[in-house]
Symmetry: C2
Subunit: 338 residues, 2 copies
Amino acid sequence: MAVQRLGQYTVQLSRPPRITAAFTLMGPREGAGPLGSYFDGIVDDYMWGETSAEKAERKYLEQAARRALQAAGLTEHDVDCFIAGDLLNQIVSSTFSARSLGIPYLGVFAACATSALALGLAAMLVDGGFARRVLVATASHYQAVERQYRYPIELNIQRGATNQYTATGGAAAVVAPPEEGAGPRITRITFGRVVDWGVTNANDMGSAMAPAACDTLMRHFQDTNTTPGDYDLILTGDLAKVGSKVFRALVDRAGVTLGGKHMDGGASMYTPEQWSGAGASGSVCSMAVILGYVYKEMARGRFRRVLVLPTGCLHSPTTWQQGDSCPGISHALVLEND
Amino acid sequence: MAVQRLGQYTVQLSRPPRITAAFTLMGPREGAGPLGSYFDGIVDDYMWGETSAEKAERKYLEQAARRALQAAGLTEHDVDCFIAGDLLNQIVSSTFSARSLGIPYLGVFAACATSALALGLAAMLVDGGFARRVLVATASHYQAVERQYRYPIELNIQRGATNQYTATGGAAAVVAPPEEGAGPRITRITFGRVVDWGVTNANDMGSAMAPAACDTLMRHFQDTNTTPGDYDLILTGDLAKVGSKVFRALVDRAGVTLGGKHMDGGASMYTPEQWSGAGASGSVCSMAVILGYVYKEMARGRFRRVLVLPTGCLHSPTTWQQGDSCPGISHALVLEND
């Protein structure tokens, strides 16, 4: 069957590729959270022996990528592209990992929605025959991201209730043709538009991103003629607690009942005792929830069909300081077991 | 014919899409340079009525995108994806333009090689049937990029002979199936690896990127079994004068004779009287030379087959300050007339 365009925005792949291997390598705080047991590795040191938080982030990304390759029984020579992105300026964690891996490198940026952009593009490149296999990765690091976007953590700035806490870790996956494994298939992709409802508080990214998640969800439902009932889980993220509330209200107002199907990655990463404001963010967050929690629960047969809607807040400290509001984006993927 | 993988790294498209429309919108300095007559629009004000250089960069990008659509006789609803990237942190010029255009947005980053990454991906998405048409754009702005990567121009820091001058402007193109127009077709794509020979001088990006250009060129020649004789022009960029010299020496050492076929975008943007150090850089530079000079000379029949090798220096001020060297990348595209 050929690639099909469904409606205006959604693509149905012809021979949907699989996520044939995944590796999530998270920091101590993430390991101690509710999803800790789903992660493949927990590093007990934020700095991981490096001299800066930025170099530690890079190590998380590169090591996750290497271990995903290992898990697939592949080497760098067996994959044709490395698609990666992160939050650091000029996505340097991805770039320096690409340097060490030596695989042709496609850098992408969708902030905390990088997971879906990278996985979606990887699935298209494999499905179209442009790459035999693609390695996908992202990472984020609490200390590196905080000091770039907000304040160095040494200042100990008080966190608001809408603030999100950047997750630390790296997560990577191999996307390959369906005959190469048994992981979930990426069957449908809806790339998102940039949606901006004028939230100027960069400490409330959840509210800024919620309209984008709702926009992509509605377009996906319309294009595919599906409803929440067609999915075992609808995973957003990282809207965290505040953004999830806004998201559910928007979806409700659009006349769609999510029922018990909605879960948010950012709201699920930490316990209330972990003092994390509204929850987690960071480009590793949705990737780790997809490749840790969803991937494993799909392997166990608990979920058969999952709609993932990672969300990203696309502002920069400069745009925010110059008075711009915070634009959001959300890319959707459907993951399906055979 | 199906998509063919040639050798390890190169892809030959099945029904090579065309660049059906292009628009280059450049600053005053670029308009006064040797390629000025090839650009579609020259703005005589760097700030273009905006209150910051960053907002001016955004305007250059968005206006170029809108005018490329116009040139193709299309509206935002006729293209399925907007693939864009730029040099500003979190590629905000692309993001905010995507917000205004309302087209599903894929953000990419390859620094000054963004042109080839975006055009190459666009060609794959169209060829694979994942998008009917794709709009591609990039921009850079001298004042915005200088103050982010180096110093605010108000400091009037003395430039070295290896320094490059960031070009100001926006450039955009529509990539569509071959039956939709008469522009050059994107027939082959070689995505590059990150190559780093240890140049730690961030004011000598040409030398840092030259090994990447040579690496991608050699892989492309090997995969496609071609030589410089098979192309009417081999366009690198922006290696500028210093990087071009290093590039030619490396290619020569690899046993390949470029003959008179090599041209560099960065070395061609300004006259020696324009005081620009080694030449131009900036993500708009290679895009503008491809979509201005190459596109028009191909339309006139002067070139039939052109190999473009945009180059990007993927460091960030942070990595450089933390002692890392400057990694380079180069993605190759073959543009062919029927």
